[in-house]
């Protein structure tokens, strides 16, 4: 059995005995029961499985468990993004919901780097997240709403 892998998930340290090649996505969903992170395409195209590793947005379907040894992982369950989440609800930025956790994670990552993105920066920031329901307009509207000062 390979050595256990230890990393921090949403502020709590976890030691996992899964195979080092296990996808981070599967470890989060199956071993840690954090099912907020979704699997869409499983090949890094759709962004549904977006999480933060040490603050960087990544597709968790493309990360082998061994590579998060010692890292800080943040999932949708671990972000405080009430304003963004409410904006997605209010503006109709979520329909079937599969892409939503990834969209929220990408928005959190974007706004942390750039609290006041323009239209193009919003589109670039979410370019790796696909949605088959909304046509994106309402998602971009939600991000614009979330950055409005109140």
């Amino acid at each position: 059995m390979p050595d256990a892998i230890t990393f921090t998930v949403n502020g709590t340290q976890r030691t996992i005995n899964d195979h080092p090649m296990s996808r981070l996505l599967d470890v989060l969903r199956e071993t840690l029961s954090l099912t907020g992170t979704k699997e869409g395409c499983g090949e890094g195209e759709c962004g549904a499985c977006s999480v933060l590793i040490d603050g960087e947005l990544v597709n968790s379907c493309l990360v082998p468990l061994l590579q998060v040894d010692g890292a800080h992982v943040t999932t949708i369950e671990g972000v405080s993004a009430y304003k963004i989440q409410k904006a997605f609800l209010d503006e109709g930025g979520a329909q079937c919901g599969i892409c939503t956790p990834g969209m929220i994670m990408a928005t959190v990552h974007l706004l942390k780097r750039n609290p006041n993105p323009d239209e193009q920066q919003i589109r670039d920031g979410l370019a790796g997240n696909l949605c088959r329901c909304t046509g994106y307009t309402r998602i971009f509207e939600a991000v614009r709403e979330a950055i409005k000062p109140r």
């Binding site: 195979h19 080092p20 090649m21 296990s22 996808r23 499983g42 090949e43 890094g44 195209e45 962004g47 977006s50 960087e56 947005l57 990544v58 597709n59 379907c61 493309l62 990360v63 082998p64 061994l66 590579q67 040894d69 990408a106 990552h109 974007l110 670039d124 920031g125 979410l126 370019a127 790796g128 997240n129």
Partner: protein, 417 residues
């Protein structure tokens, strides 16, 4: 079908030396994995042929971007995000930052590495054409030592490289130059976001007046590897940009590519598009030599109506910034030297006053003093400068834009003469 995970082995050596020793102990057995944006896709699909994987993601020896006066050395594990954020790469190697911006979305840019894009050896990768035109060199390391080779020639066939099985790419070196390059790139894919290219061209050109002093052209997706196009480069050298040159260049380029028909496109389509993007490059270079705004040159090369007055201020500022200051000797810029010829007779006193005026102007407006210099003496340009210092910023930027338009028109005339 998904991969059966226990069939695979993944280890993470603590440092570069142990990684290289592991690779040397069983040459060819261990496949390095960095950000996983290519290999993990194959893994999930059950198509990853390598069963022993060596994670190099945490090897800090392979990170960092070093800048010296001669070159910029990019560590193998440098991510696209890091390339995009690097100010000197943006300024001096804009085709590379453009390619980085095309690569996937943010999450892929955070994990994908430059060396991974090279080692994966896909002929459709986005960054290799840019690396080829910038004459990049690769530093390869193994337990036995290191060697540096030109990137041109590194790919020996479809998904084949000059790398030995015990070697890793350690660094990518980009030689710097103060050449007055025009940098052009076009990627043709099915859509704008996250598309794999059908044809990708990167090219730089240096002009001497209206003729090509040196041209470098590289193409992706039209041969078993990414390629430089030496026949077309040689054909263009010394030629001016006119219809005859364009026709000749299109004929030459189609003779040195071997596109195939596959799921993404057909050979015929790729051949035609290759010729078209070369034509676009030549037209764009002509327009960009007349006016340094890339968006203006983009529109003109596309055959659009002159968009000058509909551009944004930042586009005008980009055009202004491509000129040397009036009264300063232009470096590597034969066109500006010719335009400022009449200043040659100016006294040191006038030149000193111009330099001081330029300084005050820049302080007030934030960009250099733009005036159509052709036929004007130093005294005249100094008097105009002093008058224009009194303008408010809103009117002055339009006057500067009008002067740029005059310069552009005179330069365009030279090309059609």
């Amino acid at each position: 079908m998904r991969a059966y995970v226990p069939d695979y082995e993944l280890v993470a050596p603590p440092d570069l030396r142990s990684a290289l020793e592991t690779m040397a102990s069983e040459p060819g057995a261990w496949r390095p994995i960095a950000g996983g944006t290519d290999l993990m896709v194959l893994f999930e699909a059950g198509r990853l042929p390598f069963h022993k994987l060596l994670s190099i993601w945490k090897l800090d020896e392979l990170r960092g971007i070093d800048v010296t006066p001669e070159s910029i050395t990019v560590g193998a594990l440098t991510s696209y995000t890091q390339i995009l954020q690097h100010a000197i790469l943006q300024r001096e190697f804009p085709l590379l930052t453009k390619a980085a911006s095309w690569t996937g979305g943010v999450a892929t840019q955070n994990r994908g590495t430059l060396a991974g894009n090279i080692a994966n050896a896909s002929p459709a990768a986005d960054s290799p054409p840019a690396l080829l035109v910038y004459d990049a060199q690769l530093e390869l390391v193994s337990a036995a030592g290191s060697r540096t080779i030109p990137y041109n020639g590194f790919h020996t066939g479809y998904k084949r490289t000059q790398m030995r099985p015990d070697e890793l790419i350690a660094r990518i070196r980009l030689p710097r130059s103060n050449r007055n390059w025009h940098h052009f790139t076009r990627k043709v894919g099915t859509r704008k976001a996250q598309a794999i290219s059908k044809v990708c061209l990167a090219a730089v050109a240096e002009l001497d007046g209206i003729t090509f002093k040196e041209v470098r052209i590289a193409l992706g997706s039209v041969a078993p590897t990414v390629i430089r196009c030496p026949r077309t480069e040689a054909f263009l050298t010394g030629k001016s940009i006119n219809n005859e040159t364009i026709v000749g260049a299109k004929e030459t380029i189609v003779s040195e590519v071997q596109p195939i028909t596959d799921i993404r496109s057909t050979a015929d389509y790729r051949l035609r598009v290759t010729a078209n993007v070369v034509e676009q490059f030549l037209l764009w270079t002509k327009f960009h030599a007349c006016c340094g705004s890339s968006r203006w040159a983009d529109a003109m090369a596309d055959g659009a109506q002159d968009p000058w007055w509909n551009l944004e201020e930042k586009d005008w500022l980009e055009a202004f910034a491509s000129h040397p200051k009036i009264g300063e000797k232009p470096v590597n810029d034969a066109v500006a030297t010719q335009e400022q010829k009449s200043i040659g007779g100016a006294s040191p006193k006038i030149l000193a006053a111009l330099a001081e005026g330029n300084r005050i102007y820049f302080e007030k407006f934030g960009y250099i003093y733009i005036v159509c210099a052709t036929g004007k003496s130093g005294e005249e340009m100094l008097a105009t400068l002093r008058e224009r210092l009194f303008n408010d910023p809103g009117s002055e930027i339009r006057i500067a834009a009008e002067e740029q338009q005059k310069i552009t028109a005179l330069r365009l005339e030279k090309f059609s003469a």
